[in-house]
Structures are given as structure tokens and as C-alpha cells.
């Protein structure tokens, strides 16, 4: 149950914007016909109003804004249905396929690069970044235009909304990995449903506002969206690096660059131990740095106490250790002898929370 709530919150906070970057084009395509029809209607009304005005009669109330709410809602409803079905299939597949932390790390880094590329495309940095965008295949756009011409103007949002399942955005892919890892069809379906539902309010609001705002404001707003996506992309790459225990992640680089003499002396004075105690809490691991004796096997006891965050999925990439900790309890982890000077990094399975064991 907690995982489902976390999925919803993830969708609400980060999924909406990152999805818009990737799938926004499809939404815009689906609203193309809608917008054209509405604008034509507006133009006709304007002409009629002027005629009435010239004839000395009262000017009728104008159609203020295109009716976009319904097609956007249809798009999102179709997307929700398609992804819930996908979650069901992924969960069912989960027992056969198991994503290890290396695969997940590669996925996070690839997703992050994709998001950064998309942000740079939105900033118009260079035409090469256009290749980070997904263009709907021609046969689909032609099909939609034909159906829309025949008056089926709601076909496009429904069809394209369902089609978004083929272009999951970064955060969605991460959620799909969680659905596979659940190893349960209903759980997978519930996770994807909660996540996509979470993305919907932001998606709706941003899409609606973007269509309503004038061209100038739209440009400024899309720049803001691009900045957010850039940051999310960099965070994803960083999480992937954490997950493989790379020294290049932001946390590990800044730890190495900014470790003060005071901290170093503290390192010497904290006697390295053979048995270590690590708390996995809702806000990460504590302490973030442990000191262990080199040259002998170490016992690491990882303690949880009503923990439901990513910290429960404990990973030591160097040892290939990946343990799903209980919500409350202590799990022992055996670490073989290491040479002095070894820095063994650990993190949660999403690369968000990190720490290290220094062997002396």
C-alpha cells in the first residue's frame, strides 16, 4: 500500500513535468484539430459580430477561449487506461524478469541523458538536440487528420493518449521498473495507475495554461519547464552514478573535494570497528560515513524503524549486495575483508540516499 502512495506522490511531484517534455508533442498533435476548429469558429464569430455592430445592433458575447479541457481530459484518461494495463503486464512479467541494480543504474543514467537532451532541445541550444524528441510516425498523424476531418474530433486525444504508452518518459520508465520488480500483476497495475494519476493534474494544468497563454508567455513558461526537466535529468544521471558507487556522483565528488582537515582528524580518532551499525531511515542512511577495520571480515547491521522510503532497498554495488529491508528490524550484512584505504559506497536502489564505509 505504501508503495502505491509513494508512486502517486512521485507522479504528482516529478512525473508530470518530465512526461510533458516527452509526450507534450503528442498532446499538442491531438489538440491540433481542436484548436484549428475553435479558431475558425472564433473567426466566424468575429466577422458576424462586426456585421452586427455595423448594423447598429448590440455586439454578442465572444467565444473567449478554445474548449480544450475535455480533449485534454480524454487524452489523460486514455493514457491512464493504457498504462494501467501495461502495469498489469509488467507485474505479471516481474517474476520472470529481475532488474538488478546495475541494469537499473544504466536505466537511470540513460533516462537522465534523455531528459537533459530534451531540455537542451527546448532551449534551442543546437539542432542536434531535436533528435531527443519523439515525432509521431507519419501513418499515425495522417490517420488522425483524416479521422478529425470526418468530424471525429475526439478520436485524436483518445488515440494519442493511449499511444503515450509507447513513449514513457524518464520517471515513468523508473516506475515501470518498480512494477516489474513487484512481481505481481495487480500490484504492477496499481502502481502504474497511481503514478499516472499523480502525473495528471500537473500535466493538465501545464498543458491547459500553455494553450491558453499567448505566444510570448508560452515561450517563458516552456523555458521554466525546460529548466525543471534539465534539473530532473541531472538528478537522474546522478542517482544512476550513485547506484553503481561511482566516485563521480555529486555526493561523492563533493565529499572528496570538501572533506576538511577537521573531518580527516575525526576519521583517525573514530576507531574502525568490526561490527558496524547503520540506520536506514525515511530521510536516508545514518551515519553517512562509517569506519571499518581493514583486513578482517566485517558485520554490518542495518536497522530500520517504521521505514518506508527508498532507503529500505539497500544496495552495495561493489559486493553485488541488494537487500529489501523489513519496515522495522535489523538485517545483518557480511562484508569480506578489505584492504586499507578501500572506500565502499552504498545507496538505496534509486541512487537517492548514499553513504560509505572507509576501511582503515
Amino acid at each position: 500500500m505504501n508503495q502505491i502512495i509513494v508512486a502517486f506522490i512521485t507522479g504528482l511531484t516529478t512525473g508530470g513535468l518530465s512526461c510533458l517534455a516527452v509526450q507534450g508533442g503528442l498532446l499538442a498533435s491531438s489538440l491540433e484539430q481542436q484548436l484549428e476548429q475553435q479558431l475558425d469558429q472564433q473567426l466566424e464569430q468575429e466577422i458576424a459580430a462586426r456585421r452586427i455592430h455595423r448594423a447598429g445592433k448590440k455586439r454578442p458575447r465572444m467565444l473567449a477561449h478554445p474548449k480544450l479541457a475535455l480533449p485534454i481530459l480524454l487524452f489523460l484518461a486514455a493514457k491512464l487506461a493504457a498504462y494501467t494495463l501495461l502495469g498489469f503486464l509488467l507485474g505479471a512479467l516481474g517474476s520472470v524478469l529481475q532488474l538488478n541494480s546495475l541494469t537499473r543504474a544504466i536505466l537511470l543514467i540513460a533516462i537522465g541523458i534523455f531528459m537533459v537532451g530534451n531540455a537542451l532541445r527546448m532551449f534551442n541550444v543546437h539542432p542536434i538536440f531535436r533528435y531527443f524528441a519523439f515525432e509521431p510516425p507519419k501513418f499515425i498523424t495522417r490517420y488522425i487528420r483524416r479521422r478529425a476531418k470526418n468530424g471525429e474530433s475526439f478520436f485524436a486525444p483518445l488515440f494519442l493518449g493511449a499511444l503515450t504508452v509507447l513513449i514513457p518518459c524518464g520517471v515513468t520508465q523508473a516506475m515501470m521498473a518498480v512494477a516489474v520488480a513487484s512481481g505481481n500483476a495487480l500490484q504492477g497495475a496499481a502502481l502504474m495507475f497511481a503514478f499516472v494519476l499523480g502525473t495528471s493534474p500537473v500535466f493538465f494544468v501545464v498543458a491547459y495554461l500553455t494553450m491558453q497563454l499567448g505566444a510570448r508567455l508560452e515561450k517563458a513558461f516552456m523555458r521554466f519547464v525546460a529548466i525543471v526537466i534539465l534539473v530532473l535529468g541531472l538528478v537522474s544521471v546522478n542517482n544512476g552514478l550513485n547506484l553503481v558507487g561511482s566516485p563521480l556522483s555529486f555526493q561523492n565528488l563533493s565529499g572528496a573535494l570538501f572533506s576538511s582537515p577537521a573531518a580527516s582528524s575525526q576519521a583517525v580518532s573514530s576507531a574502525p570497528a568490526s561490527t558496524l551499525l547503520l540506520s536506514a531511515t525515511n530521510s536516508g542512511y545514518s551515519p553517512k560515513r562509517l569506519f571499518a577495520k581493514a583486513g578482517e571480515p566485517i558485520l554490518l547491521n542495518v536497522v530500520t524503524d517504521n521505514t518506508y522510503s527508498c532507503a529500505r532497498d539497500f544496495v552495495i554495488p561493489a559486493l553485488g549486495v541488494e537487500k529489501l529491508l523489513p519496515q522495522s528490524g535489523t538485517v545483518p550484512v557480511d562484508i569480506p575483508a578489505q584492504v586499507a584505504g578501500t572506500v565502499m559506497r552504498f545507496s538505496c536502489s534509486m541512487g537517492m540516499y548514499t553513504g560509505e564505509i572507509i576501511f582503515q
Binding site: G25, A28, E32, R130, A133, E135, P136, T141, R142, R145
Partner: protein, 70 residues
């Protein structure tokens, strides 16, 4: 029937080509338009006796984009 490539400026999003391609419906004599956001161009297959390059460029301009013969 000829097939000509035009450079198209102003396609700022992946869905813009869809709008450019709608000139297929605007002008008789155009058999097919294939626009690409990534390449910033469109390939138009049309009957020269029914529609001219200038008319194609004007039709694209009506949708807010600028086309130039490649």
C-alpha cells in the same frame, strides 16, 4: 508529378510537422507532404501543372512557418 524538398523554419516542436502537412488538404495538386521536425524540412510531392512552388510556400506561411526551396 515532382518531389521537392523545402527547408522549413519555425517548427519549434515535434507536433509542428503535423500542421505543415495539413497543406495537403489546403491545395489541390499536392499529393503528399512529409515534414520533419528533426531535419527542419519538408518533402512535397505535387503536380506542377496544378500548383506552384510559390503557392506551396504561401500555404505554409498561412500556418505560421517559412518554407524555402532547399
Amino acid at each position: 508529378m515532382v518531389k521537392k524538398t523545402f527547408r522549413v523554419e519555425g517548427m519549434h516542436c515535434p507536433s509542428c510537422p503535423m500542421e505543415v502537412e495539413s497543406i495537403e488538404d489546403d491545395l489541390p495538386g499536392i499529393k503528399r507532404v512529409s515534414a520533419s521536425y528533426q531535419k527542419g524540412q519538408m518533402v512535397v510531392e505535387y503536380d506542377e501543372s496544378e500548383v506552384s512552388e510559390a503557392q506551396i510556400i504561401a500555404a505554409v506561411a498561412k500556418h505560421g512557418y517559412q518554407a524555402f526551396p532547399a
